[in-house]
Amino acid sequence: MMMTSHLRRTLCVARGRLGVGGCLPGGPAARPCSGGGGLSAAYEQGGGEGAGLILRSRSTDVYQNLALEDWIDANVDLRRRSVLLLWRNRPAVVIGRHQNPWSECDLRAMRAAGVPLARRRSGGGTVFHDLGNLNLTFFTCKKKYDRKRNLRVVTDALRTLRPGLDVHATDRYDIILNGHYKISGTASRLGRSSAYHHCTLLFSADRSALSAVLRPTSRGVRSNATPSVPSPVTNLLDHDPTLDWDQLLAALGAQYNSEFGFSAVETVVDPSDESAFPGVGGAAAELQSWDWLFGKTPKFSVDTRLELREEESGVRGSAHLQVEVKGGVMDSCRLGVSSGWLPAGLSGELSALLAGGRFCPEHTAAVAAAMLRSQPAELQGRLRSLCDAVIALM
């Protein structure tokens, strides 16, 4: 079985610098697109048949940008033209199509920090996006799908900006700087006749932020979901502080044209513009839905011991939880509590209430609160500590 790869940042010595501003700054070659004109204006620039398009998204919302990718994949006739999309997001964690968010990232830390979770449609591993990370998506028809060639665009563009820069693409479709540090990871999606290949490019990402979120939410998760594999990373800016974001984007556009023989001019697009991209709003909403984010997780199980402590009296106990989760819903739930901590049958009652419900802290808290109402006062403390321990896994 092929082990799929990843992109995962680890805490590194040098600090990164967060990009400023809300959207990608306009470079000399960029043209803003007007209202509903959108792609048609870009088509004219592109020069007709067999041409290329270079688009830059003005949005930094991860869901809007992913929805835009889906839209282009579905609506642009990629047999007639290829597209390069440049985009970046406000801080977000993006997991691959078949990954398990509970084992890839710390959902509680993310909620507290206001970092959203997104699941993309392509495979691969978990990445942390922020404004210092550039995303490039190469859209082609399936026949012209060539990841090595796309990555050559990136490495050649970098070498044009800084001749002699030691960057090369590996067999695993990563881009390595100075033979050691990863600055780019790849993922792709193939449909019936279209394909897209997207990759990241670490320019000035905040690595301390990502180490706080890229660790499992709960222990004891067992699944066959695609795992992420960490590797040492660095920012381009750490290596060469004189690099400029706008220059980088311009160089990438120019190299794209040069590699594929296009004469495209970069066009800024707004993925929230429903008239330019009909249906994109609905697609973005679907990407934020619980059913997509969590319901698409391949089936997994959680098997772990819980340490309990009653708040008022300080009495300790323990419990054993075994859950099978399918489609984000707890198919079966077995909760055993150490003898004497709770009356017999109560943990069974709680398990019965949890089974069939979502593996989700809000849902479980609501169920627990409703159950606690019908319990006598003297059991409230212990039962609450049990419920809280279970919710802490989600």
Partner: protein
């Protein structure tokens, strides 16, 4: 290798084409629509089983992992429907069906390794590729079997079973010109027949509902010449295909069943009143910008909650709790006033702790925090448990009087209706415009009597009608 296989399969199909065209024509004549049920019952097959091999993904990839199946054995698929998701080397690929037909066998389980060029599924087709009218179907690359939302984005796809397609083709009808009356615009056999009759004025073969017509009409209809139809062809009655859906109650709803059953064991009595909040409305308008200056959104609820707490100081029995057997009553020291919130999970009642110690602004801050948590789905057990008294602002959605149900282990609850502008008489007998809000209290009649509730309500009302009074008693 895959190309060679495809070619040979095509040849087999063409050879069998004539054979089952005839067989299937007989089927449509007898008005039997193709259904998978029929296939299981009968031993006669309508078409060959074709092995759909996993085609070349590109880049020399020889094996992939099957990640998700969109179909199962027995499912009907159309050409271009998504069959499964496979993953290879960071690439996620949607495999779509090449044929119309019924899935007969899945060769792999989820997480198994599938080999390129080897069979992925068996599809039982019943028509040759020439009959699948490709010009009517627009490509929809990444569409799952039941992802109908995508159809709107990616263009029209005409849905029709293979039998219907064949009927259309035999009569030279383009499916895109026929209006489908089935589920999601699916084209049914009746739609083709109606289209035909409109076009040529031909007599329709008797459909079930037509037989209900009175005999003379039925006798006359076949005799009248095709060109001069006496009446318009009968429009097909819309057939209701909705089905009842039964699901077990799970999680939150199951827990609520127990709570509500326990709640209605409490003998409730109700007490309603109306409150003139004209002065409160003016006060809030005045204080709103001040609160915003401190970063707090100020609604009416903090005033209602604080007034309730001041009332509870005078009538502590309303902030009590009785045990199950109703043997002991516990007077709770803390006023943890719950606020019923309508969230995506259903009715949640987070509470503001120790209102007796908080100012109106503090309460507003807490409400902001709880509302933000409720909106982002982060309410925890600490906020949702421990309440001693509850207010439900159902008026924010609508309504005047209500009959709230006490949430055990509490003993009282109030429901606030919406604020209406109504005509009232002032002390001088003049007709004035007043802002009136209705309130409905429910209390546990085992320990609380009507007089107590009435006095509490009067005190609460006085604080709100005369907010200046609140200042006197604020602790």
């Amino acid at each position: 290798m895959a190309a060679v296989t495809r070619g040979s399969v095509g040849l087999v199909r063409r050879l069998l084409c004539e054979q089952y065209r005839r067989r299937c024509f007989r089927c449509s004549r007898s008005s039997v629509q193709f259904s998978s049920r029929l296939l299981h019952a009968a031993s006669v097959r309508y078409g060959p089983i074709l092995q759909f091999k996993l085609s070349d993904i590109g880049e020399g990839i020889m094996e992939v992992t099957v990640k998700e199946w969109y179909v199962k054995e027995g499912d009907k698929v159309s050409q271009f429907d998504s069959i499964c998701e496979v993953q290879s080397d960071k690439a996620s690929v949607t495999i779509t069906s090449r044929y119309d037909g019924v899935i007969r066998k899945l060769y792999y389980d989820v997480d198994a390794t599938a080999l390129v060029g080897k069979p992925l599924v068996d599809i039982e087709t019943e028509s040759s590729p020439e009959l699948t009218q490709e010009e009517d179907v627009v490509e929809t690359p990444a569409m799952a079997h039941d992802e109908h939302t995508h159809q709107e984005i990616k263009g029209l796809k005409t849905q029709a079973t293979p039998a219907v397609r064949r009927l259309a083709m035999e009569n030279n009808i383009k499916l895109s010109e026929v209006v489908g009356t089935g589920k999601d615009g699916r084209i049914l056999k009746e739609d083709i027949l109606n289209f035909l009759s409109k076009q040529t004025g031909a007599i329709l073969p008797p459909a079930p509902f037509q037989e209900i017509r009175p005999p003379p009409a039925a006798a006359a209809a076949p005799k009248s010449p095709p060109a001069a139809m006496p009446q318009a062809p009968p429009t097909p009655k819309p057939v209701f295909t909705g089905k009842d859906v039964t699901q077990p109650l799970t999680g939150f709803h199951k827990a609520m069943v127990k709570t509500m059953t326990a709640a209605l064991k409490i003998p409730h009595f109700g007490y309603c009143d109306e409150v003139d909040v004209t002065r409160l409305v003016a006060l809030r308008a005045e204080l709103k910008p001040v609160a915003e200056g401190r970063g707090v959104k100020l609604s009416y609820m903090p005033f209602f909650i604080k007034a309730a707490s001041l009332g509870l100081l005078q009538f502590p029995i309303l902030n009590a709790s009785v045990d199950e057997a109703c043997q002991n009553i516990t007077y709770k020291a803390a006023h943890n006033i719950g606020l019923a919130m309508d969230t995506s999970q259903g009715l949640l009642v987070p509470n503001v702790k120790n209102v007796q110690m908080l100012s109106v602004l503090d309460i507003a801050k807490e409400l902001n925090r709880l509302q933000a948590l409720g909106a982002s789905g982060q309410l925890g057990t600490a906020d949702l448990t421990g309440g001693t008294f509850t207010l439900s602002n159902i008026g924010s959605i609508g309504g005047t009087y209500a009959k709230p149900v006490i949430l055990p282990p509490e003993v009282a609850i109030g429901a606030l209706g919406k604020v209406q502008v109504l005509p009232r008489f002032d002390s001088a007998g003049q007709l004035i415009k007043a802002q009136i809000m209705k309130v409905s209290w429910s209390a546990d009649h085992r320990i609380i009597d009507g007089a107590t509730m009435c006095r509490f309500s009067n005190l609460w009302r006085e604080y709100l009608e005369n907010p200046a009074c609140m200042v006197l008693d604020l602790k």
